[in-house]
């Protein structure tokens, strides 16, 4: 395959943003059409990529390689069954964000769209890169547009949130940079596929794993470094929250799968208890915190932390079910949390309040909205038939194989999840209408309805028919587990 499809997918949004920048159009309509066209075209390119992806092939496909830093580091791109899903997810979410901007972003729209398109470039770049330095480049670069999105278009406390987001993430990542450079001098390369084969000596693995962990744990976010997330979510504009929840958080989970586990198997096995403790704490503690929130976005943000707890738990079971469940949970959380933030955005645009107490009895005045909202609330608590169920279920199946106690504690989180989600629905959608302004609210308009319906359709589709996702990732997940076990045995025999 000679056509550099991965590079085109990465740089097409950048091209679109450059076009908007140069056109200097003040006309919002034309700016939106340009960006929408770019991102939809990119989505179709990604679908084509998914279609031509060989799911029985072990290893990386569509590899592109070019010399980058004078013979030392190559600009290497490539995908496997895991990354393709995240790429498609990213390119699916971005057009939805752009459509949602029409209603929510009132000023400096073209700059906002430029930021979103640049962010798309960086996010897809993260999922495509097969070189640690290239990965770091894209991983960190995403901070710049997100910082601006929160800071310029955010809520009243946006400055604090933007700074917290930026500095937390940067602090975590610089240690990863040290580790990346250290890996370069230990193995002589930063090419991921080569590092897989070289096998990093055991004594280095623990520190390197911790350095990567410090970055991913902040990004994931894992308890106790999750505090930036509720702030960032609350203050970010709707589209920003959607991207943050749907894609940015997934970079960390992807990082664990792509880097931590295959490169440092011994350390990964060694630190499993740490991950379990943090995940369980995240699941139970943040669910309890979510129960007590009066701010809808904050509630969803805390629920994200809890859901990410399932992801880390699933990934670090190293069982087929656990890993597939973790990945599935990431994809489904990407869809559901995006939809929930969009739902909050819909009523926020009308009443400019995120407080749960402002609302109540919406079902009488916004029936269509209420229906969609309930669907996503149910998906969020993991009702069978929605994609939310399958991820949690598979994770728990995986966890039961490793450790009963952990699995039981994680199951408690499912109950708590149902509690805060249903209570949210009860207070917002049902109940008495106290606020008189609610009576004047109009129901979802066409564009809002369209994107929410689209998300609902996909959520339910994957709830009933998860096969496309599972099939795509299955070979890569098997490969990951096999390699992991082989590596572990290899290191153990060296020890003896």
């Amino acid at each position: 395959m000679n056509f550099p499809i991965l590079s085109s997918i990465i740089f097409l949004p950048l091209l679109g943003s450059l076009f908007i920048f140069l056109s200097k159009s003040k006309n919002n309509q034309s700016v939106i059409s340009i960006s929408l066209f770019t991102s939809v075209a990119n989505f179709f390119l990604c679908l084509f990529l998914w279609y031509s992806f060989d799911r029985n092939f072990v290893g990386f496909q569509f590899i592109e390689e070019s010399d980058w830093i004078s013979g030392l580091i190559k600009f290497k791109l490539g995908i496997d069954g895991i990354s393709i899903l995240f790429i498609v997810l990213t390119s699916f979410i971005i057009p939805i964000c752009i459509i949602s901007c029409v209603n929510s972003i009132k000023e400096r729209l073209n700059e906002f769209l430029i930021a979103i398109l640049i962010l798309e470039t960086f996010m897809i770049g993260v999922f495509c890169s097969l070189d640690l330095v290239v990965f770091y480049l894209f991983f960190e670069a995403g901070l710049i547009p997100m910082f601006l999105i929160i800071g310029v278009w955010g809520g009243p406390n946006r400055v604090y949130s933007a700074f917290k987001f930026f500095l937390y993430t940067l602090l975590g990542s610089v240690l990863m940079l040290v580790a990346i450079i250290a890996i370069f001098w230990i193995t002589g390369t930063t090419d991921v596929t080569q590092i897989y084969e070289i096998k990093i000596p055991k004594e280095f693995q623990y520190l390197l794993w911790l350095a990567f962990f410090s970055s991913f744990a902040v990004k994931m976010p894992m308890w106790p470094v999750h505090t930036w997330l509720p702030d960032a979510h609350v203050e970010a504009p709707t589209a920003g929250s959607v991207i943050l929840a749907a894609i940015l958080l997934k970079m960390a989970g992807y990082g664990f799968l792509r880097f931590s586990i295959p490169m440092f198997p011994v350390a990964s096995e060694y630190f499993v208890p740490l991950i379990y403790i943090l995940s369980i704490t995240a699941i139970i503690y943040t669910s309890l915190v979510a129960l007590m929130q009066d701010d809808m976005k904050k509630l969803i943000a805390y629920s994200s932390v809890a859901h990410m707890g399932y992801v880390t738990l699933g990934i670090f079971t190293f069982t087929k079910q656990g890993l597939e469940g973790g990945i599935f949970q990431m994809i489904s959380h990407g869809l559901i949390s995006a939809a929930l933030f969009l739902c909050v955005g819909v009523i926020y645009d009308r009443l400019h309040s995120r407080k749960i107490s402002t609302y109540g009895g919406l079902v009488n005045y916004m029936p269509r909205y209420s229906l969609i909202f309930i669907i996503f609330v149910l998906a969020g608590l993991g009702l069978p038939g929605t994609s939310g169920f399958l991820g949690e279920f598979l994770v728990l199946v995986g966890a039961f194989q490793r450790n009963y106690l952990v699995a039981i504690l994680a199951s408690i989180g499912v109950v708590l999840g149902a509690a805060y989600m249903l209570w949210l629905a009860k207070r917002v959608i049902f109940g008495e209408t106290i606020n008189p302004e609610i009576k004047k609210l109009r129901d979802v308009n066409f564009s809002e309805g369209f994107i929410l319906f689209l998300l609902a359709f996909v959520t339910i589709l994957f709830g009933f028919y998860p096969q496309p996702l599972i099939d795509t990732m299955s070979v890569s997940v098997n490969h990951l587990i096999n390699n992991y076990q082989v590596d572990l045995i290899h290191h153990l025999t060296i020890q003896k």
Partner: protein, 470 residues
């Protein structure tokens, strides 16, 4: 004795043009414009002379003057940086009544001093070059005669710098006493770690050099001088003397002190860490953008010194790459500062930038790019500068230095972000004046384009710099 005099042709040409420009300035009234243009022209021609000269190692004047690819690269870097600084600061100079013909002439004298300093292979020539440079800089700092701040900064710079020159000279005499020669090559052969007196000399020389590049703990003069001098002078201070000072420091470490690496390494590691941390922490509270840039430059010198601290060729070349990218960023930054004009007056208060992104989108975007690059966020040029430094540092197993350095980038990111916050997040109070100046805008544009597109071919600089160390 005057064999090989042809290797001095660029310096001779520069000196001759300085003399003739002085004459022009004396005999033609109001000749600032003319002299500046001729000055730019002669700097350009000097750069051409260096560029077209051979690249082999050659020495002259009893081996006291050396020309090799390393000196040529640094000289061209200084010349290009000075051309851009002079070019973009013309408007500022004219509007602040410091448009005297002496201004470009003194800058040229400083450059000439730097040239001799860089090319020196002998302590005496090194000291002469250094003093020519320093004296020119004192005058430049105080060039705005009627401005009390400018005078203050000139005096302050002079007194403190003279002290450090004294220390340096003392170190030089000690070095001569303990090694019996003033020639770098001979000193290099004579020096070893048993020669305690010479190690003392090394410490004194290092102190003097650290003062010139404003590394902590010899940085006290920097913020005051940066703030007090006219902005056009500050922009020159932030660039050319730093490059020259670092280049000489590397030369010293590489030639005369190459045998006592264990002795100086600890010192450099310490001042590197101290500069990085102080540069990051002290800048947080600043309200004046020139003062902030002073602390930022202290921090950046700390990173460049981290490369020097490795004591290897890869470390030195990473430092040179770092300082080159630093020059690009600073030229852009100061050009942006030249555009900070409110109600016809130049301002250097950061709060005057508040909310300008609504009225000046292009200027704000340039600030954004340059500041993120200074903070070292990928994919901008500043990231690669730091990346190469830490590649070299970690290659030599200096993990502590790398981790402290990278953590201090997080702290320093905070104050860069603060400026971005003021520009982008705050409410617009009063827009800046519309300034349409082709020189400044093209400089900013060029610097931003270099920083943005650096990631496409990041080894471009490395390939050149690796070549100069062979």
């Amino acid at each position: 004795m005057i064999n090989n005099i042809n290797i001095l042709i660029p310096e001779i040409f520069l000196a001759l043009s300085i003399f003739s420009l002085v004459m022009i300035g004396v005999f033609i009234k109001q000749s600032y414009n003319l002299v500046t243009k001729l000055c730019l022209l002669s700097l350009f021609f000097t750069a051409y002379l260096i560029f077209s000269s051979d690249n082999n190692v050659a020495k002259a004047f009893l081996d006291s003057f050396v020309r090799d690819p390393y000196t040529n690269f640094i000289k061209i870097l200084i010349l290009i940086a000075s051309i851009f600084v002079l070019n973009s600061s013309q408007m500022f100079i004219k509007e602040n009544n410091i448009a005297k013909f002496e201004y470009p002439v003194i800058i040229m004298l400083a450059i000439l001093g730097m040239f001799f300093m860089i090319s020196a292979n002998d302590i005496i020539l090194f000291y002469l070059g250094l003093e020519l440079q320093s004296l020119s800089l004192y005058i430049l700092a105080a060039i705005d005669r009627d401005n009390i701040q400018s005078n203050e900064s000139g005096i302050k710079y002079f007194v403190l710098s003279a002290l450090s020159s004294g220390l340096l000279l003392y170190g030089c005499s000690l070095l001569y006493g303990f090694t019996g020669s003033t020639n770098f090559d001979v000193i290099s052969n004579q020096l070893n770690s048993e020669n305690t007196g010479a190690i003392f000399a090394m410490v004194f020389i290092l102190v003097g050099l650290a003062f010139k590049i404003s590394a902590v703990p010899f940085h006290m003069w920097t913020p005051d001088v940066y703030q007090g001098s006219p902005t056009s002078v500050t922009s020159f201070f932030a660039i050319a003397p730093k490059v020259a000072g670092l280049a000489v420091l590397i030369r010293f470490m590489q030639v005369p002190f190459s045998n006592i690496i264990n002795e100086w390494q600890t010192i450099i590691v310490f001042i590197s860490i101290a500069s990085m941390i102080l540069g990051a922490v002290a800048a947080i509270g600043q309200k004046n953008i020139k003062r902030l840039m002073a602390y930022s430059s202290i921090g950046h010198i700390g990173y460049a010194l981290a490369g020097v601290a490795t004591g290897t060729i890869s470390g030195y070349s990473s430092s040179i790459v770092y300082i080159t990218i630093y020059v690009v960023m600073n030229i852009g930054m100061f050009s942006c500062i030249f555009l900070m004009k409110k109600d016809g007056k130049y301002t250097d208060q950061i709060k005057d930038l508040s909310g300008i992104s609504k009225k000046h989108p292009i200027l704000s975007l340039s600030f954004l790019i340059i500041l993120f690059s200074l903070a070292g966020i990928p994919p901008l040029g500043g990231f690669f500068a730091k990346f190469y430094i830490f590649m070299a540092v970690i290659e030599n197993g200096m993990y502590t230095l790398a981790i402290i350095g990278l953590l201090s980038t997080v702290i320093s990111a905070f104050y860069y972000l603060k400026i971005i916050k003021i520009i982008y997040f705050d409410e617009l109070e009063k827009p800046l004046d519309e300034v349409k100046n082709f020189n400044i805008i093209s400089t900013i544009l060029l610097s931003c384009i270099i920083l943005i597109t650096f990631f496409l071919y990041p080894s471009f600089l490395n390939n050149i710099v690796n070549f100069i160390f062979i």
